[in-house]
């Protein structure tokens, strides 16, 4: 069973976060907590994302749309990396000669 955190639990876990800042982050859609019958709930991944948002907010003075743009770029970067990893894994699984041909083609580019 996955551990989910309620809003209060998130705020007590991440001490630098205040209820109003959490609300702001959700309103800006920097976070999209899953909705449950007892209100929004957060996963461990959401918590790590909140830490990142707090870093960007407090230490880089990024708020509002600027923060949104940075987060979106980070999400895109991670998305691309995850897909690149999938492609690499697929290439890895190919026979030696095919792998060699792919590597040769990459070198030529």
């Amino acid at each position: 069973m996955t551990r989910y955190y309620s809003e209060e639990q998130v705020i007590t876990t991440i001490t630098r976060l205040t209820p109003s800042r959490l609300t702001t982050y959700v309103q800006h859609e920097f976070l999209c907590p899953a909705q449950s019958e007892n209100g929004p709930v957060y996963t461990a991944a959401d918590l790590a994302r909140i830490e990142l948002i707090c870093d960007l907010d407090e230490q880089f003075d990024l708020q509002g749309d600027a923060l949104g743009v940075v987060l979106s770029l980070i999400d895109q970067l991670h998305g691309v990396r995850s897909e690149l990893r999938r492609v690499m894994t697929a290439i890895e699984a190919q026979p030696e000669d095919l792998r060699g041909r792919i590597i040769a083609a990459l070198k030529e580019m």
Binding site: M1, T2, Y4, E29, C32, P33, A34, Q35, S36, E37, N38, G39, V41, T43, A44, A45, D46, L47, A48, R49, E51, L52, D55, Q59, F60, S72, I74, D75, Q76, L77, H78, G79, V80, R81, S82, E83, R85, R86, V87
Partner: protein
Amino acid sequence: MSNDPYSALGLKKSATDAEIKKAYRKIARTHHPDLNPGDSTAEAKFKAASAAYDLLKDPEQRRRFDAGEIDATGAEKQPERKFYREYAEQGGHGYGNTHGYEDFGDMSDIFADILRQRQAQGGAGGAGAGFGGRGFDARGADARYMLEVDFMDAVKGGKKRITLPSGDNLEVKIPEGTRDGQTIRLRGKGGEGYGKGPRGDAYVTINVRPHKVFKREGDDIHITLPITIDEAVLGGKVPTPTIHGTVNLTIPKGASSGQTLRLRGKGVKRGKKTGDQKVELQIKMPPNVDADLEKFMQGWRKDHAYDPRKGMTS
């Protein structure tokens, strides 16, 4: 972290508060693990700099550290922080967002196809927008839900209704054999589209409450079944709970604790496949060892001694 917070920031003790902030920002910018997912040294450097900055940004704490009143960890230790990049590439968190590969179209090869397809499968998040004809059309946002269900409901499947604090209702069909953490996609149950855009989808993650008897291992069910010493010695049929109801399980003569018996086809049904139930036996002694049992065992031990620990001790 290093014992010297100044060196973690690449500064001298005489640094001003502004210099400390500047140095920290520089390291944070160049070494933040989430901004540098591919650099394995980034996390250590960032952590050291963060700890150092936490200590030095407060003039009072800095004074106490300089005066030797507190050490570099500043007394209380912070719990280990999890960085977002540890989750970011796993997917399923709703933030996966590659904004499509439309520009890959010219390549017209399998590559772009595969990536586009992938995006359609995993794609909570990025709403595709486009100017269709005259107006602005965009797909509505996806919605994420979490639904806690009982173990048996997940195993057997069924219909559940999520009633949200806002009063909204959402019917979720749980397929037979749903696993813990599985996400069900409800097409068109997300947010309203913009213009002529379609509605977004709803993603419902199923969180399965553990059962006090049954444990799930893939599509197999595992249980621990207590048996008496006489059942262990003599064997026999013992009523055993399964997710499909009680069955009589044949215990072989001379069964041991830890021995696992398999009930074929008594596991979780998922699609066309059905798992097994694994029954691990556990011999339970009677609540009290009475005189009869003690007397019998003393007699039996005399000429039937055996060593189950052979080879374990030298």
